[in-house]
């Protein structure tokens, strides 16, 4: 069953809004405005009633699936439950209905919350100073790398390269390019970790930084981290921590203690702010003291009991957002940290790791486990065994949808063929984990017994398998 486009509900003259009558004299705008600037014809927006809009978007929501619908085991995305109280907090009128150009004295309550959030983020990561401005993880990476760029510029050093392991998120190399660096990719070793020899070979005077996710995208903790940081720092480079996987280490290890110089968080992953079907997120950046001068301006500061934005940052890397970033997301993350407390964050990590290990243990005989090293909050299987029977990982993912469960991240990391990357998160209970495990086993049996069932999946979704090649060859991007 498909839902018509909103404009198809339309009828000329139908309205879905009401405004007060205009109570000032009306003039013809064309009389005064520069020639040609007044629109001749109205934009062709829908002409629909409020009920039409409500029915339409309710239908669309029924064609969607969120973490409230069930398990969402996307690896490296940390799709945990989004507490409802956090939504309420972000909607408290005196917190939400403030304007970014209001003077600081009128928004002290909000600034206090943001300042405390900064302190929490510094403590959790073992870093010194924080900027909340980046609006997403990739935005945070970009800011972090620009800080590094600025740092070397101020040192009078020209360093042009950023090293990225082949298991890294695609945003890492893309952010490095955005920040004007050349990317050097290094291979992982047979344990799924950074290969120290390749790293040594890649390091020279031109290297500005190594970007690392720890645990990496296989869920494996880079246990050579001390050697790695030594190699980079000895060569005069800096160490960048991609915080996508912070849910694996809270209370057990801190990037700052691992000698990372810059990190970004994903508040929409670790701290449970809802992802909204693709955003908004928030990607705060935390740095060690020596990099603090280069943070985006302004920086939130406190003097006495007053909070203020410090614009006097002569060495700043610049600005990446018109205002102060995704404030509403920060309020939710603040609420989350306060309800969890320090000890709670540690338990969250423990349960995330427990859930992932339980699943891995239960699935590793059915699906190939390409890297046997200990993993933390996520793990990567391979569908290569099933591929031999002609069924791809994409087929398996689509079949999961028939069982009303979301599919894991697939075909990533790139170093695993037919990768299936699973991150259950701590908020799934045993019953939900068992159901997913059981479904994966059923699918494996189906591949042996009725492969076409899996090959042609999904069968039970609102639409069946969609033709992506057609969409890309002849893009139809608007009505």
């Amino acid at each position: 069953m498909t839902e018509p486009l909103i404009k198809e509900y339309g009828s000329p003259g139908r309205k879905g809004y009401s405004l007060p009558e205009l109570d000032v004299p009306e003039e013809n705008p064309g009389e005064k405005l520069p020639a040609g600037t007044v629109r001749k014809e109205a934009a062709e927006l829908p002409e629909v009633s409020e009920v039409d809009v409500v029915r339409h978007f309710t239908s669309l929501s029924n064609m969607n699936y969120g973490v409230d619908s069930g398990i969402y085991p996307l690896g490296s995305c940390t799709m945990k439950y989004n507490p409802k109280i956090n939504e309420d907090v972000a909607r408290i009128p005196n917190l939400a209905h403030i304007h970014p150009h209001q003077k600081e004295k009128y928004v002290q309550g909000s600034l206090e919350i943001l300042y405390e959030l900064k302190q929490y983020l510094a403590e959790i990561s073992g870093m010194d100073e924080v900027s909340l401005q980046p609006a997403s993880g990739a935005h945070g990476e970009y800011v972090g790398l620009m800080i590094i760029r600025k740092y070397f510029e101020k040192q009078g050093e020209e360093r042009t390269k950023v090293i990225v392991p082949d298991s890294a998120h695609g945003t890492n190399p893309a952010s490095a390019t955005m920040a004007g660096f050349d990317v050097v990719e290094i291979e992982s070793n047979e344990r799924g970790m950074v290969d120290l020899d390749s790293l040594r070979a890649a390091v020279d005077d031109d290297v500005a930084a190594l970007m690392l996710t720890n645990p990496n995208t296989l869920g494996i903790f880079e246990r050579d981290i001390c050697e790695i940081q030594q190699i980079i720092h000895d060569a005069g480079g800096l160490l960048y921590y991609d915080g996508a996987n912070m849910n694996a280490v809270m209370g057990y290890a801190r990037p700052g203690d691992m000698e990372f110089d810059v990190i970004h968080y994903n508040l929409h992953k670790t701290f449970s702010t809802p992802h909204g079907g693709g955003g908004p997120g928030s990607g705060p950046v935390a740095v060690k003291e020596r990099l603090a001068p280069y943070l985006p301006a302004p920086v939130l500061q406190k003097e006495g009991s007053q909070y203020y934005w410090d614009y006097d940052r002569p060495d700043t890397m610049g600005k990446v957002h018109a205002f102060h970033g995704n404030y509403g997301v920060m309020l939710r993350a603040y609420a989350y940290i306060r309800t969890a407390g320090g000890e709670g964050l540690r338990e969250i990590t423990e349960n995330a790791v427990l859930n992932a290990n339980y699943m891995k243990h239960k699935l590793k005989d059915t699906y190939e486990l390409p890297f046997a090293s200990d993993s933390l909050h996520e793990f990567v299987l391979s569908g290569s065994r099933q591929k031999k029977d002609g069924i791809t990982t994409a087929n398996i993912a689509k079949r999961l949808l028939d069982y009303e469960q979301y599919a894991p991240t697939i075909y990533f990391p790139l170093i695993v063929k037919e990768a299936i990357m699973v991150e259950p998160t701590e908020t799934e209970n045993l019953r939900s984990l068992d159901r997913f495990i059981e479904t994966m086993k059923i699918i494996s049996r189906e591949i042996e017994e009725e492969p076409e069932l899996v090959e042609n999946a999904p069968h039970n979704t609102v639409v069946r398998k969609l033709d992506e090649a057609q969409a890309a060859r002849n893009p139809d991007l608007r009505w």
């Binding site: 075909y411 992506e468 090649a469 890309a472 060859r473």
Partner: protein, 128 residues
């Protein structure tokens, strides 16, 4: 997996047919299969000069991108404009209608570095 006789092959899974110093190249059946549904081919312009192994274009499927490399040095004498509207020809007929560019070879000696059908079949086995 089709590997026709009489063509030259490269380790980048490209084929080259040479007749009287004029070459036609495309990607192999194996390459199109690996890439999946081809959705876009970025072509050079006629008259462009390339050195052997130069990157001269890009071929894209729904979820992968691959650079195209010129198997031998020379000048581009023709491009398969049909691919602009029907990139799927590369999937359907990689060795015929799915050809990508025509090249005027500047050094036929470079052909010695390329594989023949038998070598390429062997190469594919090793890759697997």
């Amino acid at each position: 997996m089709k590997v026709p006789e009489g063509l030259y092959y490269t380790e980048d899974h490209e084929w080259l047919k040479v007749e009287n110093g004029a070459g036609t190249m495309g990607i192999t059946d194996f390459a199109q299969e690996e890439l999946g549904d081809i959705v876009f081919v970025e072509l050079p312009e006629v008259g462009d000069d390339f050195q052997q192994h130069d990157n001269f274009g890009v071929i894209e499927s729904v979820k992968a991108v691959s650079d195209l490399y010129i198997p031998v040095s020379g000048e581009i004498t023709g491009i398969n404009e049909k691919l602009l509207d029907q990139p799927e020809l590369v999937n359907d007929e990689p060795y015929q209608e799915g050809w990508i560019v025509k090249i005027k070879l500047s050094d036929e000696g470079e052909l010695d570095e390329l594989m023949d059908a038998e070598d390429y079949r062997e190469f594919l086995k090793e890759e697997a």
